[in-house]
Structures are given as C-alpha cells and as structure tokens.
C-alpha cells in the first residue's frame, strides 16, 4: 500500500462555505507524483484552492499506476468537505473525523472508513465497494442522487451508529447494515437489496417498496397500514450476510405498489403490530 496522509493545516475560517473536494480519491491520485497531487484543485465556495493550501501532505514520492495500491488518510475538521471519494473504483480512504455530504457517492469499488459521523447522501448511487461509518450517518444513506429513481445498485454500507431519514431510498442491490437506530422512511421505494437495522425504527419503514427486504431487530414503533402480516418464521438466511435467529414476523407490502417487498421484524419487540 502507498499511503498518503492529508492533515488539515488549520480549521476553516468560515465554516459555512462548503468545500468541493472530489479530487480526494485514489483514482485521481494514481499516476501522479506527490508534487502534482499537491497542486490538485478543490473549490471553496466560488474560489479555487490547491490541495496544499489546506492540507499538509506526506507520503510516497509517486502514487504509482494502480489506484488499488493507494491509501488516503484524512485528518482535521472536515464536516464541510463534500464529494470525497466520489466515483472511486479502487483503493482505500480512511477519515479520522466527521465528514461532509456525498461521501463516496457514485463509487464503484474500494473501501472508505469514517471514524466519525457522515452527513447526507453518503454512498448515494454507489455501484460497488464498501463504506464503514463508525459514527452516525445523515439522511439518504445509500440513497439516490436528487431526482434519480434508481439508487444504490451494489456494494456494502455498515454503520455503527444511527441513521436519519430515507436510508436506502430507491435501492436496487447491495446491503446496508445499521447497528443503531433509524428514523423515518427507512428503505423507501426499495426495489431490491437488503437493509438490516439492529436498533429501533420510528415509523413508515418500507414506504412504497416494490421488492427487497428490510430486517428490523429492534422495535418498529408504527407500521404502515399498507403492509399485511403473513406469517412467523424462526430464522432468516440472508445472502452475503449469514443467518439471523428469530423468530420474525413477516410483513408483505407495500400494497400501494406491487406487493413484492418483505419486512422481517423481530417478534419479541414487535408484538404490538399484530394485535
């Protein structure tokens, strides 16, 4: 692995101005010397800045030809940095703090690890690769870009904390696993793919889903009226994940769409939904 360490020199003066840092990606670093990487342009509001004006860079002399061999390490106060790892296909990015919007959107491979929280649209429209968020995630995690009716179509997202609204919206393939809780519209418009939530979910999970599966191991406070209870099963095998012990309540829906989506709720916490 060829490691590049990017350390923010000093905190951003006006934190309200977002920074578009889509050049921070192994695919763009590849085939460049460290001097060329320092000169890469990022946008702060309407101003262009070279990477070295904000970060101090250290690492190998040359990044080599293969993005798969590149590891980028980011430290600093980065919650206004957008589009990091956008469209990346190989390699690894590790972020030591919280990060801004569109982290790893449209990525097709590689791995991103965030040791803090992420903002909205993390992993939006991704087609492959892996994102591991050790803090909390914002809205639209693994969702779709604005207006797109075809969302995440592959890859894996793991969140150790909680997520906000519309997680996995329009998802077509892949796995999202959330260790904490989710708020509203979990898996809205879900078409295919799997969402696993270990914590509680507030309400409206699976709204307008047309396929795929949502697994909730905590309490779903309120279910949509357009889901029907079908049966109870003891355990649930999930492709690419393993088997989860139940028993589970199986709901089918959304009846407002085609009735091909499935929601598996852990029985001991969700008995209130079948009374």
């Amino acid at each position: 692995m060829k490691q590049f360490i990017l350390t923010q020199k000093k905190p951003v003066i006006n934190p309200n101005i977002p920074i578009e840092a889509d050049v921070i990606s192994p695919d763009i670093f590849a085939k460049k010397s460290i001097e060329e990487i320092k000169k890469l342009i990022i946008w702060r509001g309407n101003r262009q800045l070279a990477l070295e004006e904000i970060f101090s860079l250290s690492g190998e002399e040359h990044a080599g030809d293969s993005p798969a061999e590149i590891e980028i390490l980011l430290t600093g106060e980065l919650s206004k940095y957008k589009h990091i790892g956008e469209k990346m296909s190989e390699g690894k990015i590790t972020i030591k703090s919280s990060i801004g919007m569109h982290l790893g959107s449209l990525m097709s491979g590689g791995k991103i690890v965030v040791e803090g929280d992420t903002h909205d649209f993390a992993g939006a429209n991704m087609t492959g690769g892996e994102i591991h968020i050790q803090g909390n995630a914002g809205h639209y995690l693994g969702g779709s870009m604005r207006g797109n009716w075809r969302g995440m179509s592959g890859g894996k997202i793991k969140v150790d904390g909680n997520v906000l609204n519309e997680c996995g919206i329009w998802m077509r393939k892949g796995i999202i696993e959330i260790a904490g809780s989710a708020t509203m519209f979990l898996g809205m418009h879900l078409h295919r793919g799997t969402i696993i939530v270990h914590g509680d979910v507030i309400e409206r999970a699976g709204a307008e889903m047309t396929g795929g599966e949502i697994i909730i191991l905590g309490k779903l406070h309120k279910n949509l009226p357009s889901f029907e209870f079908k049966e109870t099963i003891d355990e649930l095998p999930i492709e690419g994940y393993g088997t989860i012990k139940g028993p589970f309540l199986v709901f089918v829906g959304d009846y407002a769409e085609r009735k091909q989506g499935k929601m598996f709720l852990l029985k001991k916490k969700n008995e209130h939904l079948i009374d």
């Binding site: 604005r146 207006g147 797109n148 009716w149 329009w170 078409h191 769409e257």
Partner: protein, 525 residues
C-alpha cells in the same frame, strides 16, 4: 458548410423549465465548467440556456427554433431565448386550441381570423403558426381527447379538420414565411398513419403563398407514422406516407428521429404525455408506479406535459420507432422536403445529430445498429432493404438547407450572396470519398466542429468556445389593413376582461424582449 438550422427543438419556455426542474439526475451527468469566455451550465436532455447555445455551436449549428410557445407564456419563452448565446432563434406561437379561434371557426369572417392571428403573432413575438394536436389541447382540459379529424372540440362547433384548414388558409393569406407547423392528432398512438394521411389530404387544395410550393409542415413525422392496432402489432407505415410526400409537393416534414438514450419528453400535447405516463408503468426501466410526470393546462390556449423516457434498443416499439425516422430520410426523394430533427428532447437530445448523420452516410453504421436492436426493427420496417448512402452535400441539405427553405429564411442555409456569415467547418480526419466506411470519423467530425463562425465572428475553435456573442430573435409581423382589426378589437378586450388571468395590457411582449431582432414583415393577400 453554412451553419446548421434546427427547425424544431424545445430549448426555451415554461415546459422546458419544468423539464429542468423535473430532472436533476440528468444534469449531474454532464456539467459544463466555466471558462474565460463561456459560462457554466448543465446539460444533457434539458440543458440550461447557456449550455444550449454552446452545444449548438459545437455541432456547427447557428439557428434553432423553439416550436411550442403558448402566447400567455411568451414572456418566459423570450426571456430564456434572450439568454441563449451564439445562435439565432425564434419561437412558434401555439394556436391549435385558442378559444378565440375555436369560437369563431364556424361563423368565420376571413378578415377577422387573419387579423386575430396576425395580432397574436405580433403580441407573442412568434415566427409562425404552430398547431399541436389541433383541438386536442382544449378537449384535454375536459379529460378527453380528439381521435379523428371530425371529432367535436369541447363545447365548440370546431373540429380538428376545420382548425387545420382555417389556419392553413389564414397562414397563406398572411403570406407568412413558413407554412403551418403541425403536430398531428393521435400522435404516438399505433395506427395513427391514417389520420396523418387524412390531414395531408385535408389541406391539399389550399393555394401556397408566394415563393413556395408547400402549405403544411408535418413535424416529427416519425411519431405520426405508425401502423397496427396496438403495441403488439405495432409497425411502420413510413413507406406509405413517404410515398404521399414524394407524389405531392404541398407537404414538408422533419423526422423526429429517436436515439437510444435516456431523455425527457415534453410537448404541448398534454393528453399524449398523460398516455405516455401510463405506458411507463409497464416498462422495465421505470419505477413500478410509472415515471415522474408533469401536466398543465394553459388557460384558454394550450396544455403541456413532461415525462422522462428511456429509449431502449431491445424494446420492439422503440426499435421500430428508430427505424421509421431513418426510413423517412432515406425514402423521400426530394430532400428539400425533409430535414433532420430529434424533436429535441423528445426523441433524444440534439447533441446526437452527428450520430444520425453517420447512420445516413453509412449503411454499415445502420446495419450495425440494426443488428443490436430488437428484431422488430428488421421485421416490421423496410430499413434493412434501403441501401441509400448520403453524400456530404445531402447531409448539408437535410441539416441546414431544406430547414432554412422551409422556414423561408433567405439569409440562412447557403453561402451565396446575401447570406449571413454563419459557417461551420468540420475536420473528419478521413478521406472525404470514403466517409461511408468511416462512420465513426463522421460522428466525431460532426460532434466537434473545427471552426464555427457566427455573423463573421469566430465563436468556436477546435471544439472550444472562443467568444460568446448573442444572436438575433427572428419574428414575423403581417401588415394587415387597419379595418380588419377594427372588428375584433372589442372582442379581444372582452375575452381578456372575462376569462384571462392577465390583462390585455400585460399580455403582449414588448420590444425589450428583443434586444437583437430580425423582423420579417409580410404583406397579406
């Protein structure tokens, strides 16, 4: 070559703007960065205004017409046209379902009708009369549609046939530079070719105005040439319609070629957009509950709709549609009667014109695409048998010369005396006599002009914008005698007081909307 002329491209106006709002996911694919001379923008199927101008210049096009402007929305349309750089432009005024016309059509006073049309063209800053699904837009306000030429329109005594004939006659009476620009009834529906033939027959007797033989322009004719009773036996009737056009001199057309891509359909034919929205529920690419959509009624004048659509090679209907457009271009003998359009963005963005050129110039390119499409394109159309290959001169004919003749533009579409210095220079990087074997070079060469010159000024060099002047807005005024208007002045005022949401004084577009204009005045007969 002279700069390209696009006769029919939805580039400005309220429905284009709705399309922009509806498709953020389409913009993100093709952003345009700011340079020292060019502004930023976003592109693809519904590009922003500046992007539109630059993209046309990149193709070597210097003229484009917005084909559907409801007079009530003329202000918006011209505001956007003003912001499209480089190209010359204009807009067609929608008249097919105007209440004033519908109401007076049964007891028509010819002077009165001509005066009204002339007034409306002037008030809206339009270039010619556009009819979209004549009568259908008004019927759609009541949730219905017209299906034959003799259906009654709403509560009026008008029928589509009467509307078309009346406005065609008025058009020739006013000696407008272009004929009526017609989007046929039943557009997009299987088996609509008989209505199209009937429409062409209906205006046969009307004497064309000075300097031209045609009295009707059928736009995006590909969408009006379908056979079969339903989507299962959907087939091409292009040969029959092309035969009519070959035999008769009174009809011209543009093709409305489709491209296999993700695009946005938008038209003033609200009823058809609603039908299309229903169709998308059953297509694999669309969400199960159908694609997103918009539909609008424009008071007493028109309607409109927007629906995203993806043309797929493996969809039998799309494959046949693709073949029909090319059939027209290859079958019509007199190329003065036909020109290329994609009905941007309905059949595909105009940026795909170079691909169409390569299909026309090379049978090999067509065959290659034909082998990749659904077999219906081979079985239900005659495209596979057509061996014609266009020369560069013929490409120039269908991309600029015939369009400017149909539009009645004396200074466009040629490089002779009196022509504007709108010039496109292409570099194909291949021998010119072997372009039919080098279709990729054709596509590349046309997609990025080496030089584009607008009014004598170099605007584009090697595909990069080097300067960004503003073109002119073309509009038409007919010098009608004073006494024709006297009879209708009160009626128009009354109509506005009773039924419009704007007052008459705020309706007409004033001269500030035409900072650079080219006014064509005509003398009515």
């Amino acid at each position: 070559m002279p700069g390209g002329v696009d006769i029919h491209a939805h580039i400005a106006g309220p429905k284009v703007n709705s399309g922009r709002l509806l498709r953020p996911e389409d913009h993100i694919i093709d952003p345009l960065k700011k340079t020292a001379v060019a502004r930023s923008g976003t592109g693809r199927s519904v590009p922003s205004t500046y992007y539109t101008g630059y993209a046309y210049a990149r193709l070597g096009y210097t003229f484009a017409m917005e084909p559907a402007m409801p007079p009530l929305e003329a202000r918006h349309t011209h505001e956007e046209l003003m912001d499209i750089p480089i190209i010359d432009k204009g807009a067609y005024t929608l008249l097919g379902s105007n209440w004033f016309v519908l109401e007076r059509i049964s007891e028509m006073n010819k002077d009165e009708m001509a005066a009204f049309v002339a007034w409306l063209l002037k008030a809206s800053g339009g270039y010619s009369i556009k009819l979209v699904n004549p009568g259908g837009e008004e019927t759609w306000a009541w949730g219905k549609n017209v299906h034959t030429l003799d259906d009654l329109v709403g509560s009026f005594k008008a029928t589509p046939r009467k509307i078309i004939k009346t406005l065609a006659a008025v058009n020739e009476r006013l000696s407008l530079p272009q004929t009526i620009h017609l989007h046929t009834n039943n557009l997009g529906i299987p088996g609509n070719h008989d209505v199209t033939l009937e429409t062409m027959n209906a205006v046969k007797g009307i004497k064309p105005g000075k300097g031209r033989k045609t009295n009707m322009h059928l736009t995006h004719i590909q969408f009006s040439s379908y056979g079969g009773k339903g989507w299962n036996d959907f087939c091409s009737e292009a040969p029959e319609i092309a035969h009519y056009i070959n035999k008769n001199d009174h009809v011209s057309c543009d093709v409305g070629q489709i491209i296999f891509t993700n695009t946005t359909t938008m038209t003033a034919d609200g009823a058809w957009e609603w039908t299309l929205r229903g169709i998308t529920e059953h297509l694999a690419w669309s969400p199960r509950s159908g694609s997103k959509w918009m539909n609008t009624q424009v008071e007493l004048e028109s309607s409109s709709g927007v629906v995203p659509y993806i043309f797929r090679r493996k969809n039998p209907v799309n494959a046949v549609q693709w073949a029909i457009g090319l059939e027209f271009l290859l079958m019509i003998k007199d190329l003065n009667k036909v020109n290329i359009s994609t009905d941007h963005p309905n059949g595909g963005p105009f940026t795909f014109y170079p691909t169409i050129f390569s299909w026309l110039m090379s049978k090999e390119a067509r065959d290659r695409m034909l082998s990749r499409t659904d077999k219906a394109a081979k079985e239900k159309t005659s495209l596979a048998e057509l061996t014609r290959e266009f020369s560069l001169a013929e490409i120039a004919q269908v991309s600029r010369v015939s369009a400017s003749k149909i539009l009645g533009l004396k200074n466009k579409g040629h490089l002779g005396i009196g022509a504007d210095a709108d010039i496109a220079i292409y570099d194909f990087k291949a021998p010119l006599n072997e372009l039919n074997k080098n279709y990729k070079a054709v596509e590349k060469g046309f997609a990025k002009a080496a030089y584009t010159i607008k009014d004598g000024e170099l605007v584009l060099k090697d595909g990069e914008i080097v300067s960004s002047p503003f073109g002119r807005t073309f509009r038409v005024e007919a010098n009608i005698p004073e006494d024709w208007t006297l009879q209708i002045r009160d009626a128009i005022e009354d109509r506005f007081r009773k039924h419009y949401t704007v007052s008459l004084a705020n309706y007409a577009v004033q001269k500030e909307y035409f900072p650079n204009e080219e006014l064509i005045t005509t003398e009515p007969r």
